[in-house]
Point group: C2
Chain length 324, copies 2
């Protein structure tokens, strides 16, 4: 592994000059080309560890998400990555598994590796961000709020819940249930609230009886749906507040021989790999990729020295209603 000293001695200049060439500082063309030639023959690339130790930062952004197997988050990740790449940053992905202690570990790593900043989809509303904040590293919350006064990029969750529920009532369903995530995640709570408002206004049944909290994954959706189906008076439609629970619900319904329009289904979040005819269910599209792009953009502004007070950007959802 060639170092800057090897290059320097081959090019008959000082290490400082080599460094300058690689950092765009003024160097005579004569020496610069000697350095470039020497670097090429030695196959030299600057050691990022040394550089980041000295400069106290690196061109790497940490993206910390709760579930790497959820297409919503991978799509978000894709957005972050595309934007970051364009600005010369690399992205490393850290999976917390909804576990605040894993989350804390990754944040600690991000700091002590001098990473340029953090984009975080918090595992819960009691994430511990003190380590990041006390070091003054930029951080942006995405999808969920973190309970600190920091930058954030969210979607308008309550309207999403309202839209999903309204679409089903409008299609003629009478008892619209709701499968939502764990309490304490504001995204889930808000979407539920949206569903509840519409359901109450609609009347004709007791919404609370048809509300289920589940984990945010397929198995959670399955369990909740199975539970709903076993009711004495089961719902005739259901809103799932995230994509994976929606998949679980759809699976259980299809296994029970229930498909649209016998039972109405609305899902908040895209189902990219559902292989379903999109006309049969209502989808409230969450702009996952765009969340990522926007968060990356904000973070990079902060990295570049933007010091205005923390902002929260709220993105709009798109709704595509079942046509059947």
């Amino acid at each position: 592994m060639a170092t800057i000293y090897d290059v320097a001695s081959l090019a008959r200049v000082s290490p400082a000059t080599v460094s300058r060439v690689f950092n765009g500082m003024p160097v005579s063309e004569e020496k610069a080309s000697a350095v470039r030639a020497a670097a090429a023959t030695l196959n030299f690339t600057p050691n990022r560890t040394a550089r980041s130790l000295r400069k106290q930062n690196s061109e790497v952004i940490a993206l910390v998400i709760p579930d790497i197997e959820n297409p919503f988050f991978t799509s978000l990740a894709r957005g972050v990555e595309d934007r970051a790449q364009a600005e010369g940053y690399s992205v490393v992905l850290c999976n917390t598994d909804d576990d605040t202690s894993k989350e804390a570990t990754y944040l600690e790593i991000a700091i002590s590796e001098n990473m340029a900043g953090v984009i975080l989809a918090p595992a819960s509303d009691h994430s511990d961000l003190t380590s990041v904040l006390s070091r003054g590293r930029p951080i942006v919350a995405v999808d969920r709020s973190a309970g600190y006064d920091i930058d954030g990029v969210m979607v308008d969750n309550r309207p999403a819940g309202q839209a999903a529920a309204s679409a089903l009532f409008k299609a003629g369903y009478k008892r619209v249930a709701c499968i939502t995530g764990p309490q304490g995640i504001d995204t889930a709570d808000e979407r539920t609230m949206g569903w509840r408002q519409v359901a109450i206004r609609q009347g004709g049944y007791v919404p609370e009886l048809y509300l289920r909290n589940a984990n945010h994954r397929v198995d959670g959706g399955r369990a909740a749906m199975a539970d709903l189906l076993s009711m004495e008076v089961p719902p005739d439609a259901v809103v799932a507040t995230n994509n994976l629970m929606g998949v679980g619900a759809l699976q259980v319904l299809s296994e029970a021989g229930l498909t649209a329009p016998a039972v109405g289904v609305a899902v908040i979040g895209a189902l990219p790999f559902s292989a379903l005819d999109p006309a049969t269910i209502t989808i409230v599209e969450i702009p996952a990729r765009n969340l990522g792009i926007t968060a990356a953009k904000m973070l990079i502004e902060r990295i570049n020295g933007d010091t205005q007070p923390p902002r929260t950007i709220v993105l709009r959802n798109e709704i595509s209603v079942a046509s059947a």
Copy 2:
């Protein structure tokens, strides 16, 4: 940000002693506890950049994959991560987008960040691994082979192709098509070969006419399936050699009003979010998670000094045949 020197002076010992305490070297209990107390009050964590510069390695594994939005790779990533966590390593995920130059960049980063090793699902068969190999860093190829004599973890691809095709013929279908990936990816080529062998032995049609190369994503599968359906004598069944192309094919079929058993479908690779009744399609399960676990295990053995000649481990698939 507290350093080892701050801790040292607070605990009235030398920096060397602080380092020893944190690295399990012999230190008198008296001083050790003083150091621990000082570290706690200063909220000290060792700076990983400095450590890794000095030790010339870090406890981070790079996982380089072609498509982070493909559930197959995220499931694989999950396996890597679980194993790595258990051994005290962190995993950073790098997405190459099937682009060999992005791949090269990430490998370069992995090296110059002194990462402990690399797990690579190669973007193609002409990936450039010289930088990693010349530095002697451990590397394991996973899912696809890289054209170098290095460790690898694969699945038995040809039997997978055979199993998928056989299941469809056995169910009575006559013209079984195949939607496969780009040429030059051995995984795809082998699966295709398996399909071809069975199709030729079966006879009664010209398999080559029913073979389509597509990209490995949903849109590729859609395009190929649409093309197959437009044939004068369309196939009555299709094998998709990866999960996303399978999803694309299923979408097109369902939009055309064709579902099992009118058209038979077999997919190589799980469809975790399909929301389909699993009884209607044949799935050859690729043990994605297990690929990840195994690769991580091999890599960590190498990191720990294992020097036996390169090995390739081949994992078995499981087939679940459509019951309808």
